[in-house]
Symmetry: C2
Subunit: 439 residues, 2 copies
C-alpha cells in the first residue's frame, strides 16, 4: 500500500530522462561559458553546479538551478562581487540582479531560474568568508553519499511540500532541501525519516558526523556535517517541526497520496465569509495596505513582526485577540480575529502603594476620586479606546512594523471589519481566509 503510493508519487515527481538530459546540457554549457569568460579575464575562477540538480534530487516543478563561480580565497570581497557579477552578466543575457549576503544573478533559461552566485573557494568550511562558501562543501559531502537514495529524497521533499512545511525561506520557516537530504542520509529512506520523526521531541539532535560543538535552543537540531557549530534546521519553527511530526504519524497510520498532493483549497465566497462570522460571533478585522516592493525574505519577517506588535497594542489596551495571521499579494493583510473588541467606558488605573507618601500625593492630586484596593490607590478613569477598530485606526503607526511595512502603512491603510472584509476580492486572499476559518 505505502509502496504503491510512493511509486505513484515518484512517477509524478521524478524528472523525465529527456528533462534530465536537457538540464544537464544546459548546466554544462553555462559552466563552460563561465570558465571561458574567467579565462579571458585571466581570473582563476570556475563554474560549479551545486544544489539538488547537482545531486539529482530535484523534483518536477522545481525550477531553481544553482551554479556557483568559485574564486580564489585571496581575492577581495569587492573584486569577488564586481568580477563575479561581470562574469555572470556576460554568461546570462536574460537576467536580473539579486541580493543575499552579496549580489548574484538570476538568469532565465527556458523555464529554469539559474542563480549564478560568486563565492570564495576556501580550503576548509571552518574558514568560510561568506555564508554561500559552505555550499560547495555541502555538495561535496552529499554527492557520493546520497547516491542511490535520490528517489527517497524526492519523496520526502514532495511530502513536506504537500503538508506545507517545505522551504527554509523566512516566509515559511520550514525544512530546506539540504535538510531533507541529510535526513534521508541519517534514516536511510523516506519511511525511515517519517518513522523517526513520529517520535521526535523538541530538542532532538541529529549529528551525522558526531562533531557538534555548540548548544542550540531550536526545536530541531541537525548539526551540519561540514560545520560542527551550525544547526542546519535553525530556521525550522516549532509549529513546522510539530506539523511534520503530526503528518508523519498520520501518514504511517493511514497512508494516502493526498499527503503529497492535497486537493486544492477553494476560495471563500462573500456569503461564506458572512456565515462564518455569524457562526463564530468573534469580530474579524483586516488591516489592508499596499504591499511594499521588497522580496519575501525582507517582507515576511516585517509582517510577522507587525502582527505581533499589533497584538501587543491590542492587549495593552485590554482587548483580546483570539487568532491572527498575515497574508500578502498585491495588497498585504494583517488579519485579527478578536475575542474581545469592545470594552466599557471606564478602566482601572492602578496607582502607587499607599505606603509611598510622595507618589501617593501626586496620584491623589491627579485622580481626585481614587480608592484603595489591595494596598494601592486605584482610580476608575475614562478608557481612551473602547473599540478595537478606533485603536487600530489611531495607533497603528506607533507599533513596531518594520521599515518597509511601516512606510507602506504611512502611505495609507484601511481597517475592514467583519463583512467588509469581502471587499478584498483577491483569490489568494480568499483561499488564505478559508484556511484561516478551517483551522
Amino acid at each position: 500500500m505505502i509502496a504503491d503510493i510512493c511509486a505513484q508519487v515518484l512517477d509524478r515527481i521524478t524528472p523525465s530522462e529527456s528533462d534530465e538530459k536537457a538540464l544537464d546540457e544546459l548546466t554544462v554549457r553555462i559552466i563552460a561559458h563561465i570558465d571561458r569568460v574567467a579565462d579571458e579575464l585571466n581570473m582563476d575562477a570556475h563554474g560549479l553546479l551545486v544544489g539538488s540538480v547537482a545531486r539529482d534530487t530535484w523534483i518536477v516543478g522545481e525550477k531553481d538551478v544553482d551554479i556557483f563561480i568559485t574564486f580564489p580565497e585571496e581575492i577581495s570581497r569587492e573584486n569577488l562581487e564586481s568580477i563575479g557579477l561581470q562574469i555572470a552578466k556576460k554568461v546570462a543575457t536574460d537576467h536580473e540582479e539579486r541580493y543575499a549576503e552579496h549580489p548574484y544573478i538570476r538568469a532565465l533559461y527556458g523555464g529554469y531560474n539559474v542563480d549564478i552566485v560568486p563565492c570564495f573557494r576556501v580550503s576548509d568550511p571552518s574558514s568560510i568568508k561568506s555564508a554561500v562558501d559552505r555550499t560547495p562543501f555541502h555538495n561535496k559531502y552529499l554527492r557520493t553519499r546520497i547516491k542511490g537514495r535520490e528517489g527517497q529524497v524526492r519523496l520526502l521533499k514532495q511530502f513536506m511540500k504537500g503538508v506545507g512545511v517545505y522551504g527554509s525561506e523566512l516566509r515559511t520557516k520550514g525544512f530546506s532541501g539540504y535538510l531533507c537530504e541529510l535526513l534521508v542520509l541519517k534514516y536511510g529512506s523516506f519511511l525511515g525519516v517519517l518513522e523517526s520523526a513520529s517520535d521526535w521531541k523538541r530538542g532532538v539532535i541529529i549529528d551525522l558526523e558526531g562533531h557538534g560543538t555548540l548548544r542550540h535552543e531550536d526545536p530541531l537540531i541537525i548539526i551540519d556535517p561540514v560545520d560542527p557549530s551550525r544547526n542546519v534546521a535553525a530556521a525550522v519553527s516549532l509549529d513546522n517541526f510539530c506539523m511534520f511530526i503530526d503528518a508523519s504519524r498520520e501518514f504511517l497510520k493511514e497512508p494516502s497520496i493526498n499527503f503529497f498532493f492535497p486537493s486544492p483549497i477553494e476560495s471563500v465566497t462573500d456569503d461564506e465569509i458572512a456565515k462564518e462570522i455569524q457562526a463564530r460571533k468573534t469580530d474579524l478585522f483586516a488591516i489592508v495596505f499596499q504591499t511594499p516592493n521588497v522580496v519575501e525574505d525582507i517582507l515576511y519577517p516585517q509582517l510577522y513582526k507587525a502582527v505581533k506588535s499589533v497584538e501587543e497594542l491590542l492587549h495593552r489596551n485590554d482587548f483580546r485577540v483570539f487568532r491572527s495571521d498575515v497574508w500578502s499579494g498585491a495588497q498585504s493583510v494583517i488579519l485579527l480575529e478578536m475575542e474581545v473588541a469592545k470594552l466599557p467606558n471606564i478602566k482601572k488605573h492602578i496607582g502607587p502603594p499607599v505606603e509611598s507618601p510622595v507618589h501617593s500625593e501626586k496620584f491623589k492630586a491627579k485622580y481626585t476620586r481614587s480608592y484603595i484596593k489591595e494596598g494601592r490607590y486605584v482610580a476608575d478613569v475614562p478608557r481612551e479606546y473602547t473599540k478595537a477598530k478606533d485603536l487600530l485606526l489611531s495607533q497603528l503607526q506607533t507599533c513596531g512594523l518594520g521599515k518597509n511595512v511601516s512606510e507602506a502603512i504611512t502611505k495609507g491603510y484601511r481597517v475592514l471589519k467583519n463583512k467588509q472584509i469581502a471587499q478584498i476580492e483577491d483569490l489568494g486572499f480568499r483561499i488564505f481566509l478559508r484556511k484561516f476559518f478551517k483551522r
Copy 2:
C-alpha cells in the same frame, strides 16, 4: 485648629457624668449580684468589669458592656459553661444566649447590652484555656497605664469609626478598641498615633513590651503586651491598614471634623442607577437571595468567600470582573461589575504537546478539526456560556459559597442585570450602591 476640632469631638463623644454614674451603679450592681449567686452555689467565681467601660475609654453611643465571671483554673470546661450560664441567667432576667468559643449571655439593661462571659482565672496569660481568658489580663495591663489618656483613646476610636476602619469583627476586619488603646499607649496621644501611622509600611511591628517571639505576615503587627506570641492587629486587613494611613495623612494635612463625623450618604434613585450604568458601559449583575439567619461573624466570611468564588467561576469562563462587593440586609447581594460579560461562540481548547503521541491521538480523535499552535494541538470549540448571566444562572451552586449562604441560594436566587437592579428598593442597599459607584 486641630485642638479645636478635637475639643469639639470630645464634647460629642465623652459620656456625661450622669451617664458614667448610672453605668457605674449598674455594673457594680450586676457584679455584686454575680458574686452573691456564686456564693449561694458555693462556687469560687467572681464578677469582673472589663473592656472600655472598665477603663473609661468608652464613647457615647457605644452600648456594649463586658462583665466576666472568673472561675478557678481547675474547673472543667463543661462546668464552666453550665455554671457560668446558670449564674448569668439568674443575674439577667431579660437576656439571650450567644456563642463565641463558648456560650455567654447578652443581657439588656436600660439601653445597654451587657455581655456576661464566663472565663478561667488563670495565673498567667501563657496558660490560658480559652481565648477570652486573656481579657482580664488586658484589663489589668491597661487600667493604670491608660489613665489620663482616656480622651485620646476616645478621639482615635471616633476617628476610626468616621473613616470606616473601626471594629475587629469579620465583617469589617478593622481595628479593635483594645488596639486603639495600645496605639495611644505607644504614641502618647491621638495625634501621635496619626503622625506615626502616616509613615507606616506594611509589616510595621509595634512591641510595647519588646517580647514578641513569632513572625507574623500581617500588614500591621502589634504584639500583645500580655502574650508575646499574639498579634493584636491580626484581623486588620491590608485595605483597612492602608485606609487608616491615608486618612491619617489627609487629616494632618487638612484637619476637619468630617473625618470623625462624615456626612451621611444618600441612597441612589432609580434614575441615578440607570445614568451611572449608561455612563460606565460596564454590565452590572446583582445576585440576590434571602439572608441566612446567622450572626454577622458567620455570615460575612461566607459572603466574602462566595464573591471570590463567583469571580473565579467567571474568570475560568473567560469573563472579566471589573469590581465586586457584597451587601446584606433582609436580602443579601453579591454585586459584580463586569468588564467583559459577553464572549464569542467559540473558544480555544488547548490540547497536549504534539510530541506526546498517546495524548495527541486521544485529543485528535475527540476534536477532529484541531490545528497546531506553539507546539500544541488546539481546537476551536463551541463556548458553553457566551453570556455571564447564563453562567451565573446555571453554575452558581457549584461555587464555594459557605454552608449558610449555599443553603440560602439553594432555596432560590435571582440575577438582576443593569437597570433591573433598581428592583432592590432597600435604602441600605441604595446607600451601599452609591458608595460602590462613588469609588
